[in-house]
Protein backbone atom coordinates (compact mmCIF):
# COMPACT_ATOMS: atom_id res chain seq x y z
CA UNK A 1 0.00 0.00 0.00
CA UNK A 2 1.33 3.43 -0.92
CA UNK A 3 0.51 6.78 0.60
CA UNK A 4 0.69 10.35 -0.56
CA UNK A 5 1.39 13.34 1.60
CA UNK A 6 -0.70 16.33 0.58
CA UNK A 7 0.27 19.84 1.37
CA UNK A 8 -2.87 21.97 1.33
CA UNK A 9 -1.57 25.29 0.06
CA UNK A 10 -4.80 27.13 0.76
CA UNK A 11 -4.12 27.20 4.47
CA UNK A 12 -2.19 30.03 6.17
CA UNK A 13 1.40 29.22 7.07
CA UNK A 14 1.12 28.10 10.70
CA UNK A 15 -1.83 25.92 9.87
CA UNK A 16 -0.18 23.97 7.11
CA UNK A 17 -2.05 20.82 6.55
CA UNK A 18 -0.37 17.52 6.32
CA UNK A 19 -2.44 14.52 5.45
CA UNK A 20 -1.85 11.08 4.11
CA UNK A 21 -4.05 9.53 1.49
CA UNK A 22 -4.06 6.02 0.28
CA UNK A 23 -3.25 5.72 -3.38
CA UNK A 24 -4.16 3.09 -5.86
CA UNK A 25 -1.30 1.14 -7.28
CA UNK A 26 -1.25 3.04 -10.58
CA UNK A 27 0.56 6.01 -9.03
CA UNK A 28 4.33 5.77 -9.23
CA UNK A 29 6.17 6.34 -6.00
CA UNK A 30 9.03 8.07 -7.82
CA UNK A 31 6.77 10.96 -8.75
CA UNK A 32 5.58 11.27 -5.19
CA UNK A 33 9.11 11.31 -3.84
CA UNK A 34 9.90 14.05 -6.32
CA UNK A 35 6.89 15.96 -4.97
CA UNK A 36 7.97 15.34 -1.39
CA UNK A 37 11.39 16.74 -2.16
CA UNK A 38 10.03 19.91 -3.71
CA UNK A 39 10.62 23.16 -1.88
CA UNK A 40 7.12 23.41 -0.45
CA UNK A 41 7.48 20.02 1.15
CA UNK A 42 10.84 20.98 2.60
CA UNK A 43 9.15 23.78 4.52
CA UNK A 44 6.60 21.49 6.09
CA UNK A 45 9.10 18.83 6.88
CA UNK A 46 11.33 21.42 8.54
CA UNK A 47 8.43 22.67 10.66
CA UNK A 48 7.91 19.24 12.14
CA UNK A 49 11.59 18.47 12.28
CA UNK A 50 12.18 21.57 14.42
CA UNK A 51 9.84 20.01 16.97
CA UNK A 52 11.87 16.79 16.95
CA UNK A 53 15.01 18.77 17.62
CA UNK A 54 13.53 20.06 20.88
CA UNK A 55 13.63 16.49 22.17
CA UNK A 56 17.09 15.82 20.79
CA UNK A 57 18.28 18.90 22.72
CA UNK A 58 16.57 17.58 25.86
CA UNK A 59 18.39 14.27 25.43
CA UNK A 60 21.71 16.07 25.16
CA UNK A 61 21.00 18.02 28.37
CA UNK A 62 20.25 14.72 30.09
CA UNK A 63 23.56 13.22 28.94
CA UNK A 64 21.91 10.90 26.41
CA UNK A 65 22.78 10.43 22.72
CA UNK A 66 20.95 13.45 21.22
CA UNK A 67 18.21 11.93 19.08
CA UNK A 68 14.62 13.17 19.20
CA UNK A 69 11.44 12.31 17.34
CA UNK A 70 7.74 13.01 17.00
CA UNK A 71 4.89 11.01 15.50
CA UNK A 72 2.30 13.02 13.59
CA UNK A 73 -1.20 11.68 13.01
CA UNK A 74 -3.95 13.72 11.38
CA UNK A 75 -1.96 16.93 11.60
CA UNK A 76 -1.19 16.63 15.29
CA UNK A 77 1.64 15.32 17.38
CA UNK A 78 0.43 12.26 19.25
CA UNK A 79 3.79 11.04 20.52
CA UNK A 80 7.27 12.35 21.20
CA UNK A 81 10.47 10.61 22.15
CA UNK A 82 14.06 11.17 23.09
CA UNK A 83 16.85 8.73 23.73
CA UNK A 84 16.63 7.37 27.32
CA UNK A 85 19.27 4.64 27.34
CA UNK A 86 21.26 5.80 30.36
CA UNK A 87 18.17 6.70 32.36
CA UNK A 88 16.60 3.24 31.92
CA UNK A 89 19.88 1.26 31.78
CA UNK A 90 18.27 -0.32 28.73
CA UNK A 91 20.22 0.07 25.49
CA UNK A 92 17.02 -0.36 23.45
CA UNK A 93 15.36 2.78 24.85
CA UNK A 94 15.79 4.80 21.66
CA UNK A 95 13.61 7.83 20.84
CA UNK A 96 11.56 5.84 18.31
CA UNK A 97 10.75 3.07 20.83
CA UNK A 98 9.68 5.69 23.40
CA UNK A 99 7.38 7.30 20.82
CA UNK A 100 5.90 3.96 19.71
CA UNK A 101 5.06 3.21 23.36
CA UNK A 102 3.29 6.57 23.54
CA UNK A 103 1.22 5.92 20.41
CA UNK A 104 0.07 2.61 21.89
CA UNK A 105 -0.93 4.38 25.11
CA UNK A 106 -2.62 7.23 23.22
CA UNK A 107 -4.59 4.85 20.99
CA UNK A 108 -5.81 2.96 24.04
CA UNK A 109 -6.94 6.17 25.74
CA UNK A 110 -8.69 7.36 22.56
CA UNK A 111 -10.12 3.88 22.02
CA UNK A 112 -8.81 3.75 18.45
CA UNK A 113 -7.15 0.73 16.88
CA UNK A 114 -3.42 1.42 17.22
CA UNK A 115 -2.59 -0.38 13.96
CA UNK A 116 -4.88 2.06 12.14
CA UNK A 117 -3.21 5.03 13.83
CA UNK A 118 0.29 3.83 12.93
CA UNK A 119 -0.74 3.18 9.33
CA UNK A 120 -1.67 6.84 8.92
CA UNK A 121 1.20 8.39 10.86
CA UNK A 122 4.52 9.94 9.91
CA UNK A 123 7.64 9.72 12.09
CA UNK A 124 10.04 12.67 12.16
CA UNK A 125 13.36 11.77 13.72
CA UNK A 126 16.57 13.79 13.82
CA UNK A 127 18.80 10.81 12.93
CA UNK A 128 18.22 7.82 10.61
CA UNK A 129 16.60 5.00 12.63
CA UNK A 130 18.99 2.21 13.63
CA UNK A 131 18.55 -1.43 12.52
CA UNK A 132 16.55 -2.22 15.66
CA UNK A 133 14.22 0.77 15.34
CA UNK A 134 13.74 0.18 11.61
CA UNK A 135 12.59 -3.34 12.54
CA UNK A 136 10.28 -1.91 15.20
CA UNK A 137 8.82 0.64 12.76
CA UNK A 138 8.01 -2.09 10.25
CA UNK A 139 6.26 -4.09 12.92
CA UNK A 140 3.94 -1.26 13.92
CA UNK A 141 3.37 -0.39 10.24
CA UNK A 142 4.37 3.25 9.96
CA UNK A 143 4.44 4.03 6.20
CA UNK A 144 6.75 7.05 6.12
CA UNK A 145 9.83 8.22 8.03
CA UNK A 146 11.44 11.63 7.62
CA UNK A 147 14.92 11.84 9.13
CA UNK A 148 17.80 14.30 9.53
CA UNK A 149 21.33 12.96 9.19
CA UNK A 150 22.43 9.45 8.32
CA UNK A 151 23.47 7.02 11.05
CA UNK A 152 26.83 5.64 9.91
CA UNK A 153 27.24 3.43 12.97
CA UNK A 154 23.88 1.68 13.30
CA UNK A 155 21.64 2.89 10.46
CA UNK A 156 18.89 0.52 9.36
CA UNK A 157 17.48 2.63 6.51
CA UNK A 158 20.38 2.37 4.07
CA UNK A 159 23.56 3.15 6.02
CA UNK A 160 24.50 -0.30 7.41
CA UNK A 161 21.49 -2.39 6.36
CA UNK A 162 18.29 -1.55 4.48
CA UNK A 163 15.70 -2.95 6.85
CA UNK A 164 13.09 -0.41 5.70
CA UNK A 165 12.63 -2.11 2.31
CA UNK A 166 14.24 -5.56 2.75
CA UNK A 167 12.06 -8.56 2.07
CA UNK A 168 10.93 -9.34 5.62
CA UNK A 169 7.29 -10.33 5.21
CA UNK A 170 6.88 -11.61 8.76
CA UNK A 171 8.03 -8.30 10.23
CA UNK A 172 5.50 -6.02 8.55
CA UNK A 173 5.14 -3.73 5.54
CA UNK A 174 8.17 -1.88 4.20
CA UNK A 175 8.24 1.89 4.68
CA UNK A 176 9.44 4.90 2.71
CA UNK A 177 12.24 7.15 3.96
CA UNK A 178 13.15 10.73 3.20
CA UNK A 179 16.51 11.65 4.69
CA UNK A 180 18.70 14.74 4.91
CA UNK A 181 16.14 17.19 6.33
CA UNK A 182 18.10 19.63 8.58
CA UNK A 183 20.99 17.18 8.65
CA UNK A 184 23.59 19.82 9.58
CA UNK A 185 21.81 20.55 12.85
CA UNK A 186 21.54 16.83 13.66
CA UNK A 187 25.24 16.27 12.98
CA UNK A 188 26.15 19.30 15.06
CA UNK A 189 24.21 17.95 18.06
CA UNK A 190 25.88 14.55 17.80
CA UNK A 191 29.26 16.21 17.52
CA UNK A 192 28.58 18.13 20.72
CA UNK A 193 27.63 14.86 22.44
CA UNK A 194 30.63 12.84 21.31
CA UNK A 195 33.01 15.63 22.28
CA UNK A 196 31.60 15.38 25.80
CA UNK A 197 31.40 11.56 25.67
CA UNK A 198 28.88 9.29 27.30
CA UNK A 199 29.76 9.26 31.03
CA UNK A 200 27.96 5.95 31.67
CA UNK A 201 29.93 3.85 29.23
CA UNK A 202 33.03 2.15 30.60
CA UNK A 203 36.35 3.42 29.36
CA UNK A 204 36.99 0.83 26.65
CA UNK A 205 33.50 1.25 25.24
CA UNK A 206 34.02 4.93 24.58
CA UNK A 207 34.90 5.64 21.04
CA UNK A 208 35.78 9.16 20.14
CA UNK A 209 34.22 9.67 16.78
CA UNK A 210 36.30 11.98 14.74
CA UNK A 211 34.01 11.62 11.78
CA UNK A 212 31.24 14.07 12.43
CA UNK A 213 28.76 12.01 10.41
CA UNK A 214 29.00 9.16 12.85
CA UNK A 215 26.39 8.76 15.54
Amino acid sequence: MRYLIIHAVNRPIPMRYFAIFELDSTVHWQNITKYCNSERMDDIQQNWMVRSFNFAEEALQAGEVPVGCIIVYEDKIIAVGKNEVNETKNATRHAEIVAIDQVLKWSKEQDINSALVFSKSVLYVTVEPCIMCAGALRQVGIPLIIFGCHNERFGGCGSILSIHDASLESLGPSFQCIGGIMKERAVDLLKRFYQGENPNAPEDKRKVKKDEQKV
Partner: protein, 315 residues
Amino acid sequence: MLKTMSDDHPLAILHQDYVKCVELTDVFVSVIQCKKQTASVAKALCEDFPLENLQHLKRVRSCNSKDGSLQVVVCQGKTQEQFDAVLSDVKYSCLGKPFLTKVPKLKPLTRKQFEECKLYWPVTFHENKRITKLINLSYFSEDEIHKIQSHMKELFNHKEKSKTENAALIVDPKVNTVLATSCDRRHLEHPLQHAVMLCIDKVARLQGGGMWDIKEECCILENKSIKQLEEANNEKPEMCSMQSAEQYLCTGYDLYATTEPCVMCAMALVHSRIGRVFYVFPHEDGGLGSKFQIHTERDLNHNFEVFKCALPEKK
Protein backbone atom coordinates in the same frame (compact mmCIF):
# COMPACT_ATOMS: atom_id res chain seq x y z
CA MET B 1 21.12 -45.07 19.02
CA LEU B 2 24.44 -44.19 20.58
CA LYS B 3 25.11 -40.49 20.76
CA THR B 4 28.53 -38.92 20.39
CA MET B 5 29.51 -35.66 22.00
CA SER B 6 29.47 -33.75 18.72
CA ASP B 7 25.77 -34.58 18.28
CA ASP B 8 25.05 -32.31 21.22
CA HIS B 9 27.58 -29.65 20.36
CA PRO B 10 25.91 -26.34 19.43
CA LEU B 11 26.47 -25.29 15.83
CA ALA B 12 28.20 -21.91 15.40
CA ILE B 13 26.61 -19.47 12.95
CA LEU B 14 29.75 -17.97 11.42
CA HIS B 15 30.36 -15.02 9.14
CA GLN B 16 29.62 -15.81 5.48
CA ASP B 17 33.34 -15.51 4.70
CA TYR B 18 34.04 -18.73 6.63
CA VAL B 19 31.29 -20.67 4.91
CA LYS B 20 31.46 -19.60 1.30
CA CYS B 21 33.08 -21.48 -1.57
CA VAL B 22 36.42 -20.36 -2.97
CA GLU B 23 36.22 -17.45 -5.41
CA LEU B 24 38.60 -17.39 -8.37
CA THR B 25 40.42 -14.69 -10.30
CA ASP B 26 42.67 -14.65 -13.39
CA VAL B 27 46.44 -14.18 -13.26
CA PHE B 28 49.14 -14.56 -15.91
CA VAL B 29 51.37 -17.58 -15.39
CA SER B 30 54.55 -18.66 -17.21
CA VAL B 31 56.51 -21.89 -17.36
CA ILE B 32 60.06 -21.54 -16.02
CA GLN B 33 62.15 -23.18 -18.74
CA CYS B 34 65.42 -23.16 -16.79
CA LYS B 35 64.88 -24.46 -13.25
CA LYS B 36 68.19 -23.08 -12.00
CA GLN B 37 66.90 -19.57 -12.41
CA THR B 38 63.70 -20.15 -10.42
CA ALA B 39 64.77 -18.23 -7.30
CA SER B 40 66.14 -15.22 -9.15
CA VAL B 41 63.16 -15.01 -11.53
CA ALA B 42 60.67 -15.26 -8.65
CA LYS B 43 62.53 -12.54 -6.75
CA ALA B 44 62.62 -10.25 -9.78
CA LEU B 45 58.89 -10.77 -10.42
CA CYS B 46 58.08 -9.97 -6.77
CA GLU B 47 59.80 -6.62 -7.25
CA ASP B 48 58.43 -5.77 -10.68
CA PHE B 49 54.92 -7.15 -10.14
CA PRO B 50 54.05 -7.37 -6.43
CA LEU B 51 50.90 -9.45 -5.87
CA GLU B 52 49.15 -6.81 -3.70
CA ASN B 53 45.79 -8.49 -2.89
CA LEU B 54 46.99 -12.00 -3.69
CA GLN B 55 49.64 -12.32 -0.97
CA HIS B 56 48.23 -15.73 -0.05
CA LEU B 57 49.41 -17.23 -3.39
CA LYS B 58 52.74 -19.02 -3.51
CA ARG B 59 54.64 -17.49 -6.39
CA VAL B 60 55.87 -20.77 -7.89
CA ARG B 61 54.28 -24.18 -8.25
CA SER B 62 55.53 -27.44 -9.60
CA CYS B 63 53.28 -29.01 -12.21
CA ASN B 64 51.88 -32.48 -12.05
CA SER B 65 53.40 -33.33 -15.40
CA LYS B 66 56.13 -36.00 -15.56
CA ASP B 67 58.99 -33.59 -16.18
CA GLY B 68 58.04 -31.74 -12.96
CA SER B 69 58.20 -28.36 -14.68
CA LEU B 70 57.70 -25.22 -12.63
CA GLN B 71 55.20 -22.40 -13.18
CA VAL B 72 55.38 -18.89 -11.80
CA VAL B 73 52.72 -16.21 -11.32
CA VAL B 74 53.84 -13.34 -13.54
CA CYS B 75 51.31 -10.66 -12.72
CA GLN B 76 47.70 -9.80 -12.13
CA GLY B 77 45.50 -7.08 -13.57
CA LYS B 78 48.04 -6.03 -16.25
CA THR B 79 47.61 -5.97 -20.01
CA GLN B 80 49.89 -7.88 -22.33
CA GLU B 81 51.53 -4.63 -23.52
CA GLN B 82 52.26 -3.64 -19.91
CA PHE B 83 54.05 -6.84 -18.99
CA ASP B 84 55.64 -7.56 -22.35
CA ALA B 85 57.85 -4.49 -21.99
CA VAL B 86 59.11 -5.64 -18.57
CA LEU B 87 59.51 -9.29 -19.58
CA SER B 88 61.68 -8.37 -22.54
CA ASP B 89 64.52 -7.86 -20.03
CA VAL B 90 67.20 -10.49 -20.25
CA LYS B 91 66.65 -11.63 -16.63
CA TYR B 92 63.27 -13.01 -17.75
CA SER B 93 64.60 -14.86 -20.79
CA CYS B 94 63.86 -18.24 -19.22
CA LEU B 95 60.09 -17.56 -19.01
CA GLY B 96 57.71 -19.14 -21.49
CA LYS B 97 54.82 -17.22 -23.04
CA PRO B 98 52.43 -16.06 -20.23
CA PHE B 99 48.92 -17.54 -20.20
CA LEU B 100 45.83 -16.92 -18.05
CA THR B 101 45.19 -19.23 -15.09
CA LYS B 102 42.43 -19.25 -12.47
CA VAL B 103 43.66 -18.88 -8.89
CA PRO B 104 41.92 -18.34 -5.50
CA LYS B 105 40.99 -14.67 -5.07
CA LEU B 106 40.97 -14.62 -1.25
CA LYS B 107 43.10 -16.18 1.45
CA PRO B 108 41.60 -19.38 2.90
CA LEU B 109 40.04 -18.92 6.36
CA THR B 110 39.18 -22.55 7.07
CA ARG B 111 40.85 -25.88 6.40
CA LYS B 112 38.05 -26.76 3.98
CA GLN B 113 38.70 -23.59 1.97
CA PHE B 114 42.44 -24.32 2.12
CA GLU B 115 41.93 -27.77 0.59
CA GLU B 116 39.70 -26.29 -2.10
CA CYS B 117 42.21 -23.51 -2.88
CA LYS B 118 45.00 -26.03 -3.37
CA LEU B 119 43.10 -27.58 -6.28
CA TYR B 120 43.78 -24.37 -8.20
CA TRP B 121 47.11 -23.03 -6.92
CA PRO B 122 49.25 -23.52 -3.79
CA VAL B 123 48.42 -20.99 -1.06
CA THR B 124 49.54 -20.20 2.47
CA PHE B 125 47.14 -20.89 5.32
CA HIS B 126 47.24 -19.58 8.88
CA GLU B 127 44.82 -21.67 10.84
CA ASN B 128 42.58 -19.91 13.38
CA LYS B 129 42.28 -22.53 16.15
CA ARG B 130 39.05 -21.06 17.51
CA ILE B 131 37.34 -21.22 14.10
CA THR B 132 38.57 -24.78 13.53
CA LYS B 133 37.13 -25.91 16.87
CA LEU B 134 33.82 -24.18 16.13
CA ILE B 135 33.59 -25.94 12.77
CA ASN B 136 34.77 -29.31 14.10
CA LEU B 137 32.27 -29.15 16.96
CA SER B 138 35.03 -29.38 19.56
CA TYR B 139 34.76 -25.84 20.93
CA PHE B 140 32.83 -26.53 24.14
CA SER B 141 33.86 -28.96 26.86
CA GLU B 142 31.42 -31.66 27.93
CA ASP B 143 30.70 -29.66 31.06
CA GLU B 144 29.90 -26.53 29.05
CA ILE B 145 27.61 -28.48 26.72
CA HIS B 146 25.82 -29.86 29.74
CA LYS B 147 25.27 -26.35 31.14
CA ILE B 148 24.00 -25.06 27.80
CA GLN B 149 21.61 -28.00 27.51
CA SER B 150 20.25 -27.51 30.99
CA HIS B 151 19.55 -23.81 30.33
CA MET B 152 17.87 -24.74 27.06
CA LYS B 153 15.75 -27.29 28.88
CA GLU B 154 14.74 -24.72 31.46
CA LEU B 155 13.81 -22.33 28.65
CA PHE B 156 11.56 -24.88 26.95
CA ASN B 157 9.90 -25.76 30.25
CA HIS B 158 9.24 -22.06 30.69
CA LYS B 159 7.84 -21.79 27.16
CA GLU B 160 5.48 -24.71 27.72
CA LYS B 161 4.31 -23.43 31.09
CA SER B 162 3.57 -19.98 29.70
CA LYS B 163 1.94 -21.40 26.54
CA THR B 164 3.60 -18.83 24.27
CA GLU B 165 5.26 -19.11 20.88
CA ASN B 166 8.65 -17.73 21.92
CA ALA B 167 10.52 -17.51 25.15
CA ALA B 168 13.91 -16.12 26.13
CA LEU B 169 16.28 -16.42 29.06
CA ILE B 170 19.42 -14.51 30.04
CA VAL B 171 22.21 -16.22 31.97
CA ASP B 172 25.36 -14.92 33.61
CA PRO B 173 27.73 -17.75 32.58
CA LYS B 174 30.39 -16.65 35.09
CA VAL B 175 28.16 -17.86 37.93
CA ASN B 176 25.94 -20.12 35.78
CA THR B 177 22.81 -18.31 36.99
CA VAL B 178 19.59 -17.36 35.22
CA LEU B 179 19.05 -13.60 35.53
CA ALA B 180 15.80 -13.20 33.61
CA THR B 181 13.19 -15.16 31.71
CA SER B 182 10.45 -13.85 29.47
CA CYS B 183 7.79 -14.93 27.03
CA ASP B 184 6.46 -13.27 23.94
CA ARG B 185 3.71 -10.69 24.43
CA ARG B 186 3.53 -9.23 20.92
CA HIS B 187 0.05 -10.59 20.28
CA LEU B 188 -1.32 -9.40 23.59
CA GLU B 189 -1.16 -5.63 23.45
CA HIS B 190 2.31 -4.52 22.42
CA PRO B 191 3.83 -5.37 19.01
CA LEU B 192 7.40 -4.76 20.24
CA GLN B 193 7.23 -6.95 23.32
CA HIS B 194 9.11 -9.88 21.86
CA ALA B 195 10.62 -12.30 24.36
CA VAL B 196 14.14 -10.97 23.72
CA MET B 197 13.16 -7.31 24.21
CA LEU B 198 11.38 -8.22 27.46
CA CYS B 199 14.35 -10.23 28.69
CA ILE B 200 16.76 -7.34 28.03
CA ASP B 201 14.42 -5.05 29.95
CA LYS B 202 14.32 -7.41 32.90
CA VAL B 203 18.10 -7.27 33.12
CA ALA B 204 17.83 -3.47 33.05
CA ARG B 205 15.37 -3.70 35.94
CA LEU B 206 17.80 -5.86 37.91
CA GLN B 207 20.31 -3.03 37.43
CA GLY B 208 17.87 -0.44 38.75
CA GLY B 209 16.47 0.70 35.38
CA GLY B 210 13.85 -0.68 33.01
CA MET B 211 11.37 0.69 30.50
CA TRP B 212 8.33 -1.58 30.63
CA ASP B 213 6.39 -2.28 33.78
CA ILE B 214 4.88 -5.69 33.15
CA LYS B 215 3.07 -7.75 35.68
CA GLU B 216 3.67 -11.12 34.19
CA GLU B 217 2.09 -14.32 35.22
CA CYS B 218 5.29 -16.09 34.18
CA CYS B 219 7.76 -14.45 36.52
CA ILE B 220 8.15 -17.39 38.90
CA LEU B 221 11.66 -18.00 37.77
CA GLU B 222 12.75 -14.47 38.37
CA ASN B 223 12.43 -14.63 42.14
CA LYS B 224 14.20 -17.95 42.13
CA SER B 225 16.96 -16.39 40.08
CA ILE B 226 17.45 -13.49 42.44
CA LYS B 227 17.81 -16.02 45.27
CA GLN B 228 20.31 -18.02 43.22
CA LEU B 229 22.15 -14.85 42.48
CA GLU B 230 22.37 -13.85 46.12
CA GLU B 231 23.68 -17.30 46.97
CA ALA B 232 26.27 -17.07 44.22
CA ASN B 233 27.17 -13.63 45.45
CA ASN B 234 27.78 -14.95 48.96
CA GLU B 235 29.84 -17.85 47.70
CA LYS B 236 32.04 -16.03 45.26
CA PRO B 237 31.33 -12.31 45.40
CA GLU B 238 34.23 -11.42 43.13
CA MET B 239 32.55 -13.40 40.34
CA CYS B 240 29.11 -11.87 40.67
CA SER B 241 28.91 -8.96 38.33
CA MET B 242 25.28 -8.01 38.94
CA GLN B 243 25.98 -5.93 42.01
CA SER B 244 29.15 -4.38 40.77
CA ALA B 245 29.39 -1.07 39.01
CA GLU B 246 31.49 -2.81 36.38
CA GLN B 247 28.46 -4.47 34.78
CA TYR B 248 27.50 -2.57 31.65
CA LEU B 249 24.18 -3.63 30.08
CA CYS B 250 24.35 -7.34 29.10
CA THR B 251 28.13 -7.53 28.62
CA GLY B 252 29.30 -11.13 29.05
CA TYR B 253 25.79 -12.56 29.42
CA ASP B 254 24.27 -15.38 27.34
CA LEU B 255 20.84 -15.21 25.76
CA TYR B 256 18.82 -18.36 25.11
CA ALA B 257 15.86 -18.13 22.73
CA THR B 258 13.50 -20.79 21.44
CA THR B 259 13.35 -19.14 17.98
CA GLU B 260 16.00 -17.18 16.10
CA PRO B 261 15.63 -13.48 17.06
CA CYS B 262 14.14 -11.11 14.46
CA VAL B 263 16.20 -8.16 13.15
CA MET B 264 14.84 -5.82 15.83
CA CYS B 265 15.79 -8.21 18.63
CA ALA B 266 19.12 -9.08 17.00
CA MET B 267 20.10 -5.41 16.92
CA ALA B 268 18.76 -4.92 20.46
CA LEU B 269 21.29 -7.59 21.50
CA VAL B 270 24.08 -5.71 19.71
CA HIS B 271 23.12 -2.50 21.54
CA SER B 272 23.02 -4.45 24.82
CA ARG B 273 26.51 -5.95 24.20
CA ILE B 274 25.32 -9.53 24.72
CA GLY B 275 28.09 -12.14 24.95
CA ARG B 276 26.60 -15.19 23.19
CA VAL B 277 23.24 -16.31 21.81
CA PHE B 278 21.82 -19.85 21.64
CA TYR B 279 18.61 -20.70 19.79
CA VAL B 280 16.84 -23.82 18.54
CA PHE B 281 14.48 -22.94 15.67
CA PRO B 282 15.73 -20.84 12.75
CA HIS B 283 13.26 -18.29 11.35
CA GLU B 284 13.20 -17.42 7.64
CA ASP B 285 13.28 -13.67 8.41
CA GLY B 286 15.67 -14.05 11.36
CA GLY B 287 18.49 -11.62 12.07
CA LEU B 288 21.10 -14.08 13.41
CA GLY B 289 21.75 -16.45 10.54
CA SER B 290 18.74 -16.85 8.25
CA LYS B 291 17.99 -13.51 6.55
CA PHE B 292 20.75 -11.42 8.13
CA GLN B 293 23.85 -12.19 10.20
CA ILE B 294 23.76 -9.05 12.33
CA HIS B 295 26.10 -10.61 14.94
CA THR B 296 28.93 -10.80 12.38
CA GLU B 297 28.33 -7.43 10.70
CA ARG B 298 31.82 -5.89 10.68
CA ASP B 299 30.55 -2.32 10.43
CA LEU B 300 28.86 -2.60 13.83
CA ASN B 301 30.63 -1.77 17.09
CA HIS B 302 29.86 -5.11 18.74
CA ASN B 303 29.91 -8.69 17.40
CA PHE B 304 29.01 -11.84 19.29
CA GLU B 305 28.89 -15.63 18.93
CA VAL B 306 25.64 -17.30 17.88
CA PHE B 307 24.87 -21.02 18.14
CA LYS B 308 22.04 -23.19 16.92
CA CYS B 309 21.20 -25.90 19.44
CA ALA B 310 19.27 -29.17 19.32
CA LEU B 311 15.75 -29.27 20.72
CA PRO B 312 16.06 -30.45 24.33
CA GLU B 313 14.78 -33.96 24.94
CA LYS B 314 11.69 -34.38 27.04
CA LYS B 315 12.03 -36.19 30.33
